[in-house]
Amino acid sequence: MNILEFKNVTKNFGGLTAVGNVSFEVEKDSIFGLIGPNGAGKTTIFNLITGIYKISQGEIYFQNHSIHGLQPYKIAQGGITRTFQNIRLFKKLTTYENILTACHDNANYGILDTMLRNAKYKEQEAKLHIKAQELMEILGLSSQKDIIASNLPYGMQRRLEIARALALNPSLLLLDEPAAGMNPDETIKLMELIKEIRTRFGLSIVVIEHHMDLIMGICDRIMVLNFGRKLADGIAQEIQENPKVREAYLGEEEEHC
């Protein structure tokens, strides 16, 4: 079963076609890699899925329903969340507050309940607290609990973005260059983490990355974009061996040292 389907999607910016007639499917519970040269349109695809940009042509289906024209928050509540390439945390809030805020959809008490601070409020708040704690632990952020987000090192900020996204219990998670700014060792840990959260939360994941170890290591399927068009798609091995991909993106293999 497919969780996400792109049908002939196009997005133009003035004269520039950032995404041109792209179709692909993401299978449920899989990790789907999205690669391509800089400016190929990868982030734009995320912006289209999450409703930040409106599609020019075509249709996007999520769990077999069109999400065309939905507001970003609706799409998020429907089960798609993401991280940002240019980190967008709640900069002045702490790690814990960032996550706790994002947990809001797990509770449904109203404004009247907050005024009364009744049992419903207390129970649900306690639940949110536990959930936030749990997420911090899973992502290894517990020791940074009270640090203001903008003061976290780059790598931690990326983790926090993932934690914040997970707080919504999404069924589809979009990661935009999660390993950017991490060293190889940290990247490996991140790979493990991504695999772990996939199984733990029963997620499907689409990931954009330029770290080929990560992409080749964890993706079930990979699509390559070039100049807004689909260049190739397939499993890791097929992609690596595809001459067009090597030419446009990977480059020729260097000799080992």
Binding site: F13, I35, G36, P37, N38, G39, A40, K42, T43, Q85, N86, N151, L152, P153, Y154, G155, M156, E177, A180, G181, M182, N183, P184, D185, E186, T187, I188, H210, H211, M212, D213, M216, A248, Y249, L250, G251, E253, E254, H256, C257
Partner: protein, 242 residues
């Protein structure tokens, strides 16, 4: 050429650099590697005056360096900052011209502009695009190009390969070597430790605000503890492609 001595930097209560010594010689590539939060960017920012430091000193060509950013640039040091800090509201061209803000030699500027366009043909295609709408990697190219435009004697690069496609990462390292060949000096901070070490004349390892190791690039690559911590095991692509 640049000498950092016993540098201490604090962010309020956080002691981010705890007595760092770095020595860079004319014409060298010096790399600094270290985990997230080790203080690499802090070091670069302290050199360019973006962060004030209280203790220690920085000597540039034997003279104590001012702590005022524009004077530091005028002295011949430029930085390609982490997170790019491009001018999102200006066009690509204006961004590049801002890089050459202090330069008076018009013909030299034009020549360098041409060179940047050669290095990054994408920039040439997008001369009039508002920089904020560039893709992440395109912005990174712009930031590097802008750094080159000031034609500095010493250029500080903070994770220049961040967010770049594998092919481009290669290009970037070629460029770094080119810059060196122009007899310029480079201080490089990179997560891609393997590459950073392999082109470095000298390298430092920064951990929790302290220099814990120093040596030539090759020495460090071979150091097993470094391999363990920064180069990753069984990493195919990090050692070869990207």
């Amino acid at each position: 050429m640049l000498k950092v001595e016993n540098l201490h930097v604090y962010y309020g209560g956080i002691h981010a650099l705890r007595g760092v010594d770095v020595d860079i010689e004319q014409g060298q590539i010096v790399s600094i590697i270290g985990a997230n939060g080790a203080g690499k960017s802090t070091l670069l920012n302290a050199i360019t005056g973006m962060i004030q430091f209280k203790e220690g000193q920085i000597l540039f060509k034997g003279q104590s360096l001012s702590q005022i950013p524009h004077k530091i640039v005028a002295a011949g040091i430029s930085q390609v900052p982490e997170g790019r800090l491009i001018f999102a509201n200006l066009t690509v061209k204006d961004n590049l011209m801002m890089g050459a803000y202090l330069r008076k030699d018009k013909s030299g500027v034009q020549k360098d502009l041409k060179k940047v366009y050669e290095l990054f043909p994408r920039m040439a295609e997008r001369i009039d695009q508002i920089a904020g709408t560039l893709s992440g990697g395109e912005q990174q190219m712009l930031a590097i190009g802008r750094g080159l435009m000031s034609s500095p004697e010493l250029i500080l690069l903070d994770e220049p390969s961040l967010g770049l496609a594998p092919l481009l990462v290669k290009t970037i390292f070629e460029i770094i070597k080119d810059i060196k060949n122009m007899n310029k000096t480079i201080l490089l901070v990179e997560q891609n430790a393997y590459k950073a070490l392999s082109i470095a004349d000298k390298a430092y390892v920064l951990e929790q605000g302290r220099i814990v190791k120093a040596g030539t690039g090759n020495e460090l690559i071979k150091d097993p503890s470094i391999r363990e911590a920064y180069l990753g095991k069984n990493q195919k692509y990090s050692e070869s492609n990207s």
